[in-house]
Symmetry: C2
Subunit: 323 residues, 2 copies
C-alpha cells in the first residue's frame, strides 16, 4: 500500500516546488520520494512512487491531475477511441509516450537499498484502468463503466485486452528493472458482482499475472471491497491477496487455506486514533493471524493525508516488538 | 429503491420548471412525481419522492443540491455543531424547520392509490446521514467520517444518538401518515468493517427500527456493499434486508434461513443491456430464488439517469409473466 505522500513533511516540502506529475516522472524526485518513508520508518519494503494511470497516458490518453483527482479529458467510450490507444514505449522517459521513469526509478532504488529490503513495483489492473478511462473523472459509483459493460461488452473487452497485454509487459519490465515483487491494483473491481467480475476483471488479472509469473517474481493483487469475490480472487494466480479493512483475515485464511499469502488490512482511518489505540489495534490484528507465515501486515488501503506520524510510528513499533 | 427521477420524460418535463428541492418539498409536485412511475409501469408499490437529507436540513443543517450532489456547506465535525442540531417540527411544511411535506405527500398518495398497492416511506439511517453531515460534500471514500470515528468517537456517538431518536419518530410519523412500510437507507455503512459497524451503525439502526416496530409497520433495511456484514444486518431487527447487486441472494437465503425477507438485487447498470438481455437477467434472478415467499424483486441500488424505459418495461413484463 502507498507509503509515501502528503502525510510526510519531507514530501510536502518537495511538493511545494514540483507538481505531482514531476514527482512521479522525474526519477531524481521519484526515487527521493520513494525512499522517504523507508528512511523515516524503516519499512521492510520500498514502494516506487508513481501512479497507476501513467501507463494509460503513455498509450496516448491525455491525463491531468486535479484537486479532485486524476482526469482523462477525453473519456474512452467508443471504438475509435479504444483503437487510438497505442503501444507505449516502455523505456521512454517522456510520460506521454512511455514509462521509462518508473523503470529508471526502480533501478536506482534497487541499487540504493540493501538486498534484504524488497523493492515493489505496481500497476493498475485492466478493469480499474479501463474504469478511469471510461469514466474520465472517476466518481464514487463507477456507473459509466458499468453501464458500458452492458451497452457494449465487446468494446469493453477490446479495451481490457489491450490494457492486459501492455500491463503484463510493463510489470515484467519493472521486474527486469529491479522490482522484487509487483502489486496489481484492481481497486474498482469490487464494484462488480461475481458474474461480471468473472467476465470483465478476472481473465485480465490472470493474463497480467501469468505474464509476470514467467519472470519468477511474486505478485500481490489488491481489490477494494471484494468480500463477495473471495473465491474468484483466489483463482487469479496472485501469490498474495491484499485485502481491505472490511474483511476478517482469519476468516479469509480459513476459507482459502494455507496456499496463498494474505496482506492487510488495518483501516487507514484507524491511524487517526491515539497512538496507544493504534498499538492495540495492530497487536489485535497480529494476534488474530497467530504468526501465520503467509501473512504480511499492511494497511487495508492507501495511507490518508494528514495521518499523524506518531500513529505510523506506533504501528511500526508494535510490529517490530513482535519480531 | 428509487423509482422516480431523471430517466422518466414526464419527470424531466416537470423538472424543467422546478428545482429538485421544490419537487421534493411541494406536496403537489412530490405526489405527482411519486405517482409517475406507478402510472407508467404499474409497480406493486409507490415510493414517496423525497430525499433522505431533508431530515437533517429540518434539524438546522443548511442543505444545497448541486450538480455534484447534496452539499452541507457547514460540515459537522465539532461538538458545538452537533449541539446546534435541533429537534425538527415534523409537521412543518417549511424544509428548514420540518418534514411536513413528506407526511402530506404520503397522506395524499395513500388516498390516491388502491389498498392493494403499498405506499413506502423512507429515511436515511443515522450513520449514513452523519456521513453526509461530517463530509459536507460526500465523495466516494467516506474518509472524513471514518477519521472522526477514530479521532473523536464520543462526538460521533452523540451525533448518531440525536439522529436515531429523531429518525425513529420521523418514520413513525410516516407510518401514521399512510406509509404501509418504511425503508431505512444505511447506504454508506458498508464502508465500515464489522467491528466499527457494530459500534457506529447497528445500534442506531436498531434504535430506529425498534421505534418503527411499535407502529406494527414492516421495515426494510438497505446497506450498499454490505457482503461482509450479513450476520450483523440480520440482527438489526429489519423485516426485510434490501441487498445490492454484489451479493448472491440464494447464498444469503441459505446463510440467514427463512425468517427474514430479502429484497433486490438486479444491477441497475444491467438495465443498459438490450431488453431481451434484461428479460434473461430478471428471469435468472427469479429462477435463482425459486418462488421464495419472502423475496421481493427489486434493483440493487437506485435506478440510473438515462436508463432506457424499454428495459424497465422488460423487467416489469418478466415479473408479471411469472405471477
Amino acid at each position: 500500500m502507498r507509503q509515501a505522500g502528503r502525510y510526510l513533511p519531507e514530501y510536502q516540502k518537495l511538493r511545494q516546488k514540483h507538481t505531482f506529475v514531476e514527482m512521479c516522472t522525474f526519477p531524481d524526485l521519484a526515487v527521493e520520494v520513494s525512499l522517504q518513508p523507508y528512511r523515516r520508518f524503516g519499512f521492510d519494503a520500498v514502494i516506487v512512487f508513481y501512479d497507476i494511470l501513467f501507463l494509460a497516458a503513455a498509450m496516448g490518453a491525455p491525463l491531468e491531475f486535479t484537486d479532485q483527482g486524476p482526469v482523462f479529458r477525453q473519456p474512452i467510450r467508443r471504438r475509435p477511441e479504444v483503437e487510438s490507444l497505442r503501444q507505449p514505449d516502455l523505456e521512454s522517459l517522456e510520460p506521454a509516450v512511455g514509462t521509462g521513469a518508473i523503470l529508471e526509478s526502480l533501478r536506482r532504488i534497487r541499487a540504493e537499498v540493501p538486498d534484504g529490503t524488497s523493492v515493489l513495483g505496481f500497476a493498475g489492473a485492466p478493469f480499474t484502468v479501463a474504469s478511469y478511462l471510461v469514466e474520465g473523472s472517476f466518481q464514487r459509483s463507477g456507473d459509466r463503466i458499468k453501464r458500458l459493460l452492458h451497452e457494449d461488452p465487446e468494446l469493453v473487452h477490446g479495451l481490457l485486452e489491450k490494457l492486459a497485454s501492455v500491463t503484463g509487459e510493463y510489470l515484467a519490465a519493472q521486474v527486469a528493472a529491479g522490482a522484487d515483487a509487483v502489486q496489481l491494483f484492481d481497486t474498482w473491481a469490487g464494484l462488480l458482482g461475481a458474474a461480471d467480475f468473472r467476465e470483465f476483471a478476472l481473465p485480465y488479472q490472470k493474463a497480467v499475472l501469468d505474464r509476470v509469473a514467467q519472470t519468477g517474481a511474486p505478485t500481490i493483487l489488491y481489490v477494494k471491497g471484494g468480500a463477495h469475490l473471495l473465491g474468484e480472487l483466489a483463482k487469479s494466480g496472485a501469490s498474495v491477496l491484499s485485502l481491505d479493512w472490511r474483511q476478517s483475515l482469519p476468516e479469509v485464511r480459513r476459507t482459502l487455506g494455507a496456499g496463498i499469502g494474505l496482506q492487510g488490512n488495518l483501516d487507514p482511518a484507524s491511524l487517526f486514533a491515539p497512538p496507544e489505540t493504534v498499538k492495540q489495534k495492530v497487536a489485535a490484528l497480529l494476534d488474530s493471524m497467530q504468526r501465520d507465515p503467509g501473512y504480511i501486515l499492511n494497511l487495508g488501503h492507501g495511507i490518508l493525508p494528514e495521518t499523524p506520524l506518531a500513529s505510523v510510528e506506533a504501528l511500526v513499533e508494535t510490529v517490530r516488538n513482535r519480531e
